[in-house]
């Protein structure tokens, strides 16, 4: 006992580190193995997307007249004759450089993921907040409608919505966003219900805060943890669903360099030019994997229940 007391006296005070819960969560996140891998993938992807015009060796849309259609990858280092033009991922069915299309496709994929989830969060927040604040029959109607939307297999409902709106990338994104609204509405509603009756909110209301002010300063901070986790995983599934719709021909239209569409266009050449199917699929998979890993990491880092366990 005595020795520990002396050692306490000897230690300089500034070694005691105090961290806020947020700093703690950040530390857990940065040390999380799968989050690290996910961040690496996402970082690479964002880099490629930002510098796409500099990185892409060719135009993603314009055909190269001098090459043969669907020729396999040609990499000089791996024994491809030096007199042939180098194409790391080969040439697609319209004489375009696949690598350039994949590089530009990364932009589209990130945009698709972020745009749909943002849209879904905004609408979901409005619906969830209205539902939670209003209560009664308004709450009942909104939440039952959300239940019904959740009762559909999500991709199928998106397909049905696209069938109504007509094929096209924007319509596909709207459909995917619409289908994912219920999840966010539920999160926000739960958070509103939790906070609504607490004293500090009543006080804030008594001081004249508007419902929107309360939503922004009290409800959203309370919901931010599940929202962030859900949004990250939501981006992953939005990218997958958008690729599926494009694959079926219901999403992006040619010649857009969308990975799902690239796969769909070349699905019949899988037997004679497998690289045209293999590579876009790997691109989709890596992107989705990146977001999934980050989502897992965020959940582990932010969930206070798991803190004591680890």
């Amino acid at each position: 006992m005595a020795s520990s007391a002396t050692s306490l006296q000897l230690e300089p005070l500034n070694t005691i580190v105090s961290r806020t819960p947020l700093q703690n969560a950040l530390r857990r996140f940065v040390r999380h193995r799968s989050a690290q891998v996910g961040m690496a993938i996402l970082g690479f992807l964002v880099f490629v997307a930002i510098f796409a015009p500099l990185l892409a060796p060719h135009d993603p849309i314009k055909p190269i007249r001098t090459v043969k259609r669907r020729s396999p990858p040609c990499i000089h280092l791996l024994g491809c004759p030096a007199d042939q033009p180098q194409h790391f991922f080969g040439i697609d069915g319209n004489q375009r450089d696949l690598l350039s299309r994949i590089i530009f496709g990364s932009r589209l994929s990130l945009e698709i993921g972020v745009a749909t989830v943002t849209f879904a969060i905004v609408i979901g927040t409005v619906l969830g907040a209205v539902s939670g604040y209003a209560g009664g029959w308004i709450d009942n109607i909104i939440m039952r409608l959300m239940d019904v939307l959740l009762a559909f297999p999500s991709l199928l409902l998106s397909i049905a919505i696209v069938a109504v709106l007509g094929p096209g990338l924007i319509n596909a994104l709207l459909a995917i966003a619409f289908v994912s609204i219920p999840v966010y509405a539920r999160i926000i509603r739960a958070s509103v219900l939790q906070v609504k009756e607490q004293d500090f909110v009543s006080a804030s209301r008594a001081l004249g805060s508007s419902p929107i002010g309360i939503l922004i300063s009290h409800v959203l901070p309370n919901a931010v943890t599940p929202l962030i986790v859900q949004a990250t995983l939501g981006i992953a599934s939005a990218i997958l669903d958008a690729a599926a719709l494009s694959f079926l021909g219901l999403g992006a239209a040619p010649p857009t360099p969308e990975w799902g569409l690239m796969l769909g266009e070349e699905r019949n050449s899988v037997f004679n030019a497998p690289h045209l199917v293999f590579i876009p699929g790997i691109a989709i998979m890596l992107t989705v994997l990146g977001f999934n890993l980050i989502g897992d990491g965020l959940r582990d880092a932010l969930d206070p229940r798991l803190v004591n366990v680890s």
Partner: protein, 357 residues
């Protein structure tokens, strides 16, 4: 039990009502006049008026919805505008294929998902565990249709002329076919519900072949189902494996497991007789939820494997703006999904006697 079942079924009514309402409402917000969308741009106003009168589009919206509900309960999903025959008939031809793939994929994903999950949990933090969980992470990130194409490439092209060759497309090898059950058992006179059931059963090729003892066709049909089922089942397999692992790990930390081990039970009995029983509940829930993914996956993969199911029909219906087909298929698949989850709810009772009815 029956009381619980009735209560659950009553709770289901608003959901079913909602599903039909949403699909009905979707059809009503078709951009543009449905008349021009269906009869074509060149339709005259007279033709349009006649069309509206015939289809009842001039009635109040609630009357239209009521009529739609009534039609559905009688199994009448309207007529396909492209094929000009009842949608129900198309459904009886197409749905069996999709359900065969879905159920096959479910069998594949639950068997291997639970097995891999158990192995991972028991050998926690070993190479097997890390490998399985890595594989599961990759599995949930793969596009179903891409996996389908890759499997087709590997098993139909790379393994060509080996015993592992598996056909990449179609339902049966060319030259093989199976007579409808109505013909085999002289049931041509059946109509209505029974007729529909016989047609459905007879279009379910594996079932038809099994009960008529046509094992050549059965073998061939199952052989063709392998690749689609593996492709569709991989994502749910990954989800189920992860859930099994975490659920089992949670249970394995409990005191009664220590007691079971302390009294000298062999590890296998501890896992399967004691731990799994309690770990099963969340696993079964996730199996029910991934059924929706399986159905969507089947719809997507059919286009890859050229299978005559709901998916291929749905896509062609969308392009020909044959909305009654899209509407009917959406409703039916959503209803199947809802009922599967009802079955999951009911299964809780058998898994956990503490859940009282």
């Amino acid at each position: 039990m029956s009381q619980f079942l009735i209560r659950r079924l009553i709770l289901l009514l608003p959901v079913i009502f909602g599903i039909t309402f949403v699909t009905f409402a979707l059809a009503r917000i078709l951009p543009g006049d449905p008349c021009y969308a269906i009869l074509g741009e060149k339709a005259t106003p007279e033709q349009c008026n006649a069309f509206r009168e015939r289809e009842g589009l001039n009635d109040p919206i609630l009357v239209q919805f009521g009529r739609y509900l009534g039609d559905i309960t009688r199994g009448n999903f309207g007529e396909s505008l492209k094929d000009s025959r009842p949608v129900t008939q198309i459904m009886l031809e197409r749905l069996p294929m999709t359900l065969e793939v879905t159920l096959g994929a479910m069998l594949f994903s639950t068997t291997f998902g639970i097995l891999l999950g158990i192995i991972s949990a028991v050998r926690r933090n070993t190479a097997v565990d890390v490998g399985t969980m890595l594989g599961a992470n990759i599995g949930v990130s793969m596009p179903v249709f891409w996996l389908g194409l890759m499997l087709a490439y590997v098993f139909a092209i790379m393994l060509k002329e080996t015993p592992f060759w598996i056909p990449p497309s179609g339902r049966l090898s060319s030259g093989l076919s199976i007579p409808p059950l109505a013909e085999t058992y002289n049931l041509q006179n059946l109509s209505g519900l029974w007729g529909a059931i016989v047609t459905f059963a007879s279009n379910t090729v594996t079932f038809n072949a099994l009960i008529t003892g046509n094992f050549e066709v059965l073998r061939d049909a199952l052989w063709h189902l392998i690749l689609p089922c593996v492709a569709v089942g991989t994502i749910p397999l990954s989800i189920i494996a992860r859930m099994t692992r975490s659920s089992l790990l949670e249970v394995l930390g409990l005191d009664y497991i220590r007691t079971a081990r302390a009294k000298g039970l062999i590890e296998r009995a501890v896992i399967f007789k004691h731990a799994m029983r309690n770990a099963m509940l969340p696993i079964v829930t996730i199996i029910g939820l991934s059924f929706g993914g399986l159905l969507s996956g089947a719809v997507l993969t059919e286009t890859v494997f050229a299978l005559p199911g709901v998916g291929t029909q749905l896509v062609s219906a969308i392009f020909s703006r044959d909305y009654s087909v899209v509407q009917a298929f959406t409703v039916v698949i959503a209803l199947i999904f809802v009922f599967v989850n009802l079955i999951v709810d009911l299964s809780y009772v058998f898994l956990d006697p503490r859940i009282r009815l």
